[in-house]
Subunit: 224 residues, 2 copies
């Protein structure tokens, strides 16, 4: 399966009930769910984590961790206790006592570590893009399970794939941000992360099905 | 006043009660409190924020935000509603639709934006130190209220001060991480952030008083 659904509750709703409602309607279609920082900050990790109890797919805390290793390790301990089995952190903080400490803790807890090497907003080119080789080398040293690279920039997905054949690539930016389902998969990604195009649809289940179907057709075309 | 106390509850305690206990004993000595990501993730921002109700000093959410602008803005809206009046974010996400969006939202809400340009762990030299000029230019463009620079590296504090005369400099790393009270102030910082040396002391109030006294003496010496 190739679809991860991004759960970012709109303001003014109960974030836990909102996540539960989307989750229950799409859990058999998605390979996993990615929960953003605002919802976790608002409700706390344990209330959000409870939503996914019994689900055996990916439950990703998208905190974009970027602290010293000890603080990131402490955070992931709390997340693991709350039912999250994957976490997103920035390669930018470096390896020594940064991702080294975090990746060790993740392995100990059985939590998948996913590192950001590029982002989808224009500011990403100002600093991050200039050091992408260094960021990839941090990912290699930390032996991260996965990497985040934006579907809106397929050349970046291709570049990461060419440098790290073994890594899982997770690509956000499909739908509301402009990439079409399948664009990133065809460029070498393993999963596409889709948020609003599914969660703000009047029928999230049907919208998720359509995305998976479009992914399948795109893959048929680009592999032909 | 020159002391900010870092509240990072140890594992196995109720994070809210632990923060409240330190806060109540030191609130008239500290100019503010910095609450780390693990406590906010565990308890949620509103339960942590309640601890500081009625306090008119700095209440800093140290989330080290490093996401796209919209997500950071949404997070800070939630934090402001919970009583936080300052937030820490990374300059490395860049300005355009990164810190630009966040700083606009912060100004609208009256929340002070503090940007990280350098960190205290060894991994900071691998990527961040090589682009510190770019990070400082992001801080300038976003007109951040403050900057985080580690007390353990006074030359970095001096460098930031020489480049940004108007910015507040907040320096962590005093005490358990090795810097002495006053080291960063003498290098040009406005506040020193002290955690375990105060919070793990058997008498946090007395420990905080001692830090302030040592800062005062160090400043007398270096200004003599």
């Amino acid at each position: 399966m190739t679809l991860i659904i991004a759960l970012d509750p709109p303001t003014g709703v109960d974030p836990v009930e909102w996540c539960r409602s989307i989750f229950e309607r799409t859990r058999d279609i998605a390979t996993g769910f990615k929960i953003g920082l605002p919802a976790i900050v608002e409700a706390g990790a344990s209330r959000i984590g409870e939503v996914f109890r019994g689900f055996d797919g990916l439950v990703i805390a998208d905190l974009k961790l970027a602290d010293i290793g000890d603080i990131m390790a402490l955070t992931v301990e709390k997340l693991a206790r709350c039912g999250f089995n994957a976490v997103i952190a920035h390669a930018f903080v470096g390896y020594e006592r940064g991702l080294s400490t975090l990746s060790e803790k993740c392995r100990e807890l059985g939590v998948k570590l996913v590192a950001v090497v590029s982002m989808s907003h224009p500011g990403s080119v100002e600093v991050m893009d200039g050091v992408v080789e260094k960021l990839i080398s941090v990912v290699e040293r930390a032996r991260c399970w996965g990497v985040v690279a934006p579907a809106t920039r397929p050349e970046m997905v291709r570049f990461v794939r060419s440098r790290l054949s073994w890594v899982k690539i997770l690509s956000p930016g499909v739908g509301a941000q402009g990439a079409r389902p399948g664009d990133a998969l065809c460029a070498g990604a393993d999963y596409e992360i889709v948020g609003r195009a599914i969660t703000r649809s009047s029928d999230p289940r049907e919208a998720a099905r359509r995305v998976v179907e479009e992914q399948r057709r795109a893959l048929e075309r680009c592999r032909a």
